[in-house]
């Protein structure tokens, strides 16, 4: 078959099926739910997650987090 659309489809299909789908047993639906959001423009989720972690650190250590910043700022 020389249909260019079919050839494109075939190429794309081969690309996608190159890797077997990832499964993690009973956690597969949760894995899919998380990775779906990370596959396209993950930054809004990453910003929310990071801000949450840092605010939690601030709640635990208080102004002690400035020490981590000082160490990291000298770390490059």
């Amino acid at each position: 078959m020389n249909d260019p659309f079919y050839e494109r489809f075939q190429k794309r299909w081969n690309e996608i099926t190159d890797l077997p789908p990832q499964t993690v047993g009973p956690f597969t639906p949760y894995y899919k739910m998380i990775t779906k959001r990370l596959k396209v423009m993950p930054f809004p989720i990453l910003v929310l997650l990071s801000a949450g972690i840092i605010i939690a650190l601030f709640v635990v250590f208080g102004s002690g987090i400035t020490f981590i910043t000082t160490v990291l700022q000298r770390g490059f």
């Binding site: 987090i65 400035t66 490059f76």
Partner: protein, 205 residues
């Protein structure tokens, strides 16, 4: 040759935007269609950082000192990138991974973009707002912002590292965890070595 180089610059820029907007799709393309020529613009970008780093960190603004600092950082980053990628690829192959080192390295090279972004961001911040941070509200606020940006870049790096192992070695999540678990002590020792040698405090991985 010039045409190929221009194409590789275009492809590099496209991939750089892609790893921000569509990391999964972009890594599939890098792994399938990427060429090693894309490493040329990457090297140029890294050199720009090494030059900035030399100017910020060198003890004296003299050509010899700056050049020595530039060469020391450049060689260390190249050696580190090759060592870490070879280690991960080697362990990945032992755990049943399939794929050429060349393809894996190209994907791994793109994981240096978040690292580069963090080091550049920290270098510039070091110039404009040098440490130490105080415990005043302004110091705490800046710390929260700095740490949030650092964490975002760290998670982005993790996603790209995962994708480079997934596409470069065609492995599943469990095996990728296995690679990281086996490689982590070696990477830890290497980072301590770099710290002792006074090359990196935070390793440029």
């Amino acid at each position: 040759m010039a045409e190929a180089l221009i194409l590789s610059v275009y492809s590099f820029m496209r991939s750089c935007i892609g790893i921000i907007t569509h990391p999964y799709e972009t890594y599939r393309r890098i792994n399938g269609k990427g060429t090693l020529l894309e490493l040329v613009p990457m090297a140029a970008l890294l050199s720009l950082y090494f030059a900035t780093n030399a100017m910020v960190k060198a003890p004296a603004f003299r050509p010899f000192v700056l050049t020595r600092h530039f060469i020391k950082t450049s060689v260390s980053v190249v050696v580190t990138a090759l060592f870490i990628s070879l280690l991960l690829w080697g362990v990945g192959r032992l755990l049943g991974g399939k794929g050429e080192y060349k393809r894996f390295f190209l994907g791994w090279a793109y994981t240096l973009i978040p690292t580069l972004a963090w080091f550049l961001f920290t270098s510039l911040l070091y110039v404009f707002i040098p440490p130490p941070r105080t415990t005043l509200p302004t110091g705490v606020a800046l710390s929260v912002v700095f740490l949030t940006v650092s964490a975002v870049l760290f998670f982005w790096k993790l996603i790209l590292a995962y994708l480079s192992l997934r596409f470069g070695l065609k492995l599943d999540l469990i095996r990728i965890f296995g690679i990281l678990l086996i490689s982590a002590p070696v990477i830890g020792l290497y980072s301590v070595g770099m710290y002792r040698l006074g090359i990196f405090r935070v390793p440029f991985l």
